[in-house]
């Protein structure tokens, strides 16, 4: 295997290494073959150690946020500015996505429901799907892309241009000014964006239902609200608070610990999105299990 690896490597034209995946991809034009080769065991161990270290640091960073978040001398002006940037400025993207999501879900679900003669269940089905799962997760993923990357890039750029050091030497706590305000803003804004996404997606559902039928707004509303119960709405909103926390913490952690100049800024922005998205899915899975155990599903 070692010899084969050596031969392939010597004839190869392209070699790509993904240390985090423990894989090396070799595209050999002369052999007209492509290979994925696993790294040796020490690389795997090193990768595992790096992941465990990063998770530990992320948990420590979250702990520091909670310690600083309730200490006096709060940066209210900066919090309002961050809520405007992370909440208000995300409205158009969230609104458009929610509208398309509600409309597409309605149009695509209709044939299946019609086959079982349950077309009248369409508003209820879409409303429950949107409120319980789709709106919180899709909104969180959009915000992970938009807000997470912008926080990662902004703090990363401040780090490499010594702006964070400048705050520290002026006797100001940069963590409190930069990190605490940003994380609070994502925690506060995510549930609001999710509520907005719920409303717009349900309104889009009304349009979708009326594309091939005639349902009045009053009847549609009645069908939607009769189907929704408290245990549909509350877990989804609680979940979105944790999604907001994850987006803020990951974005700030990646940006605040940026190294290696402008290249590092790009890497921070990119990894903030990847890690935040992954954490959102993990939290979603945990939330489903918790609501199942509590008998809320």
């Amino acid at each position: 295997m070692v010899e084969e690896e050596g031969r392939i490597a010597s004839n190869c034209n392209e070699v790509f290494v993904w240390p985090h995946c423990d894989l090396t991809f070799i595209n050999s034009l002369s052999a007209r073959k492509s290979y994925f080769l696993p790294m040796d065991r020490s690389d795997v161990m090193r990768g595992a150690k790096a992941i465990i270290t990063e998770v530990g640091e992320l948990v420590g960073f979250t702990g520091r946020f909670f310690r600083e978040a309730f200490r006096s001398r709060f940066e209210w002006r900066e919090l309002v500015r961050q809520c405007y940037l992370n909440g208000y400025r995300s409205l158009p993207l969230v609104a458009i996505t929610a509208f398309i999501m509600g409309l597409v879900l309605t149009v695509q679900s209709r044939p299946t429901l019609a086959r079982f003669g349950a077309e009248t269940m369409l508003p209820a089905m879409v409303a429950i799907s949107v409120v319980r799962e789709i709106a919180p997760v899709i909104t969180a993923l959009i915000c992970a892309g938009k807000i997470g990357s912008s926080i990662g890039a902004e703090l990363g750029s401040m780090k490499v241009t010594e702006q964070i050091d400048a705050m520290e030497v002026s006797g100001t706590n940069p963590f409190k000014f930069l990190v605490v305000t940003r994380i609070w803003s994502t925690i506060l804004m995510l549930p609001l964006l999710v509520i907005l996404a719920d409303a717009i997606a349900i309104w889009a559902c009304f349009i979708g239902v009326n594309m091939k039928g005639a349902v009045t707004w009053q009847l549609f509303q009645q069908q939607v609200f009769d189907s929704l119960v408290f245990s549909d709405v509350l877990p989804a909103l609680i979940k979105s608070i944790f999604f907001g926390l994850a987006i803020g913490v990951v974005g700030c952690y990646k940006g605040y610990n940026t190294e290696k100049g402008t290249e590092g800024v790009g890497r921070s922005a990119h990894s903030a999105v990847v890690v935040a998205s992954l954490v959102i899915f993990i939290l979603d899975l945990v939330a489903v299990q918790v609501t199942e155990i509590m008998g809320l599903n």
Binding site: S157, T161, E162, Q163, A166, E168, V169, S170, T172, N173
Partner: protein, 260 residues
Amino acid sequence: MAGAIDSKMRPTVGVEREVVIRLRDLRKAFGTNKVLKGFDLDVHRGENVMVLGKSGSGKSVLIKCIVGLLRPDQGQVMVLGQDVYALGQDDLDHLRVRIGFLFQSSALYDSMTVRENLEFPLRRHWFAQSAEERDALVKEALENVGLEHTADLYPSELSGGMRRRIGLARTLILKPEIVLYDEPTTGLDPITGKEIVELILRLQKKYGTSSVIISHDLNVAKLAANRIAVLMDGRNYVEGSYDELRSMQDPVVQQFFIFM
């Protein structure tokens, strides 16, 4: 005079004055790369000390150790009579208000206007201050550096020299007792560089600050430094005035004067 100097052999100039910065046996390594290997330095009140060294010799590491941005592996950093690394965070923040730091890149906050950059430290340290008092201090700081018209501009709208001046105005707005300059003229043309040095000297005279200037630029040394410490191989290799160093026959010292 050539060769590494012992603390006891350090020139007695200014001994009678208060020592505002005292560095003893400062050591710092990054992995296997030993940057500082026992650096000693005293800075007296009202004095301009320049640390001269080649690129990558550890000058910026040294200045960051003084202000608590980098923790040395060993050694003592006393600033204004306080051991920087024995202080708690709140005490360190109070001490930092008495120290100004001009970064090489100016480090102006991109998302804030010039006025907001100058107000940033004021809002956080002089809580009782009214808006009128803040405006007056901002106006005074901008007048000091001759850039009154830039208050509402963003850092991205300023030239390199203007950014350095605004950085200096922000550094001095809390009236620090000590100012640390990290490569104040690097990246500037000689004319702007000279203007910055003249500005530093004028403001130092006005506010009576003590300074540590980190640079490899001998023009800065000639114009601004009362005393020069040569940082070589992680140690304080030699100290003296510009003229004393200029007249030394030591090849290590002479290499700095090669283009003079």
